[in-house]
């Protein structure tokens, strides 16, 4: 049997989709083995975030909300680490509230590995400058209960140690919080805007993942949020802005190539469609059988 030769246009319309997977792998792993070092520009939204965090003063109490699974942390890592470096530098008091069970693993990685040396350099101590409260926001009802009567609701940190005698004694309700910094995948973000921002007027800034970005921009426009940091790209811009290179800037090589790869595949697919598929369908319709 004679094998029919596949033309370039036919291949463009009918190639095995697993080539896309393989090329995406190579495009992401390649720049990590051999970094290219691409330039980055800083957007207005990142500058706005920078200004809001810079406006905090030493001793201000910030609710550090992590409503993210470990997978979401992979995307929010640049913004989270860069923002925390700024907060540590400023000397603000942080209390970390987790909105997802996997946030426990994120907290371990961030405070016991990624930021440890930075905190030691700035003498930023657990129990004095920051406290991890743990899985305080498992659902909306818990959020409401915690922010309406904080002292009754939350008595210990994530390891069961009493928080009495710490800076958290100053927190009675959500009104006593200076600002909320929220890193969220959108999942398990139980009503921070609904029950703290709206009720007490506490300012809030949010670093959402790409999927939740349009919703966050709508809230920003409605003045429910004061600043939005756009996913990993925003985090990389922030790293550049504060002159503390980190995982975000390293990511940007693979990030750029991944985007270009998708655009190229869209173009290939359309060339294949107009060059072969459409004509093939017209040929099938008009064939005399």
């Amino acid at each position: 049997m004679v094998e029919k030769k596949v033309s370039l246009l036919q291949w463009m319309a009918t190639y095995d989709q697993r080539w896309v997977y393989l090329i995406l792998f190579l495009v992401v792993l390649g720049p990590m083995v051999s970094p290219i070092g691409m330039p980055i520009s800083v957007s207005a939204s990142t500058r706005n975030w920078y200004e809001k965090v810079t406006a905090l003063k030493k001793g201000d109490i910030v609710l550090d909300s992590w409503s993210t699974e470990y997978s979401g942390y992979m995307e929010l890592k640049p913004g989270l680490l860069a923002t925390h470096r700024m907060l540590i530098n400023k000397g603000v008091k942080l209390f970390v509230c987790l909105g997802h069970p996997e946030g426990f693993a994120v907290a371990n990685v961030v405070f016991e590995e990624e930021l440890k040396s930075y905190m030691d350099k700035h003498n930023y101590k657990y129990g004095v400058d920051y406290i991890i409260l743990g899985y305080v926001f498992p659902n909306v009802a818990s959020t409401i209960a915690a922010v309406t009567n904080f002292q009754d609701a939350v008595k210990t940190d994530w390891k069961g140690v009493s928080i009495k005698g710490t800076f958290l004694d100053r927190i009675k309700t959500g009104a006593d919080i200076t600002m909320i910094v929220d890193f969220t995948t959108g999942a398990g973000n139980p009503g921070l805007i609904d029950h703290i921002v709206l009720r007490f007027g506490t300012p809030m800034i949010q670093n959402p993942i790409g999927v939740s970005l349009p919703g966050a921009l709508a809230n920003l426009d409605a003045k429910l949020l004061q600043a939005v940091l756009a996913s990993a790209r925003g985090g990389a811009e922030l790293e550049y802005l504060i002159r503390e290179p980190g995982p975000g800037l390293i990511m940007m090589d693979a990030f750029s190539l991944g985007h270009y790869m998708v655009i190229i595949f869209i173009i290939i697919g359309n060339i294949g469609y107009f060059g072969w598929t459409k004509r093939e369908r017209a040929r099938e319709r008009t064939t005399i059988r």
Binding site: L29, I144, G191, H195, L198, G210, A222, A232
Partner: protein, 238 residues
């Protein structure tokens, strides 16, 4: 680095690539192993956090031991909730569900009306022309207002779409498709960052790179060998 941490990193890299084998397009034992491992450990983690979270089960029991009687109805309602799984006695769970749904509706409705409805509408209906902000502000605000109104008119199905309504719905449809393109790009950015961040975890520090590349090749070779022998789908879970 101690042996336990080293083993944890190497095994994590291997199990991650086992998870990626689903992209091959056929069921295989490597993916099944990864899938069931995640199901088991993630469920166990959720159990632990339901027990230890603030307002978790342990919190209520400790409160009860301290003499706080408020937790008596909480524990009773919680136990009644469990009867949901027994068809014969599932009616016992109704009071727990009615209670939690009532509270959730009360708290949810009172604020979402403002945040997702009134505030969003009032942010749309603003002064379109503010001299200090210039022409670009005017174009932006007008675009937002026109987009929302025309897109909403596209979703009105209770009357026949004709005349000016048809024009509005058509414009709304085109704006919606354009907006979907922009939103898709942001969504893709999110998913790509997630994957790139994940791979970064396995490529840095640099000592991990040989293990990552080695694990990827090993998993690929095992998969191809299993598929060639016809064992891949036979040994898979589904």
């Amino acid at each position: 680095m101690d042996l336990l941490t080293y083993l944890s990193v190497v095994l994590a890299i291997f199990i991650a690539f086992c998870g990626f084998t689903t992209l091959y397009g056929k069921g295989n034992p490597l993916y099944s192993w990864a899938e069931f491992s995640y199901l088991a450990t993630a469920t166990a983690m959720s159990v632990m956090w339901s027990w230890t979270a603030t307002f978790g089960v342990r919190y209520a029991i400790q409160g009860l031991i301290r003499g706080e009687l408020i937790w008596v109805p909480a524990i009773i309602l919680g136990i009644l909730m469990w009867f949901r799984v027994y068809p014969k006695y599932s009616y016992l769970s109704r009071v727990s569900i009615a209670f939690t749904m009532g509270i959730a509706l009360g708290w949810g409705l009172r604020t979402s009306i403002f945040t997702s409805f009134i505030r969003q509408i009032s942010a749309t209906i603003v002064n379109l022309w503010v001299p200090e902000y210039g022409i670009m502000y005017f174009i932006a605000r007008t675009t937002i207002a026109v987009s929302i109104i025309t897109m909403m008119s596209f979703f009105i199905y209770t009357t026949e779409i004709k005349g000016p309504h048809l024009w509005s719905a058509t414009i709304g449809e085109y704006i919606m498709y354009t907006a979907f393109g922009a939103v898709f790009a942001q969504t893709f950015m999110g998913r790509l960052s997630l994957f790139v961040g994940h791979m970064q975890d396995y490529m840095f520090p640099v000592w991990k790179q040989p293990y990552t590349i080695g694990a990827a090749l090993l998993v690929f070779v095992i998969l191809l060998a299993l598929d060639k022998k016809g064992l891949a789908q036979k040994l898979a879970a589904a």
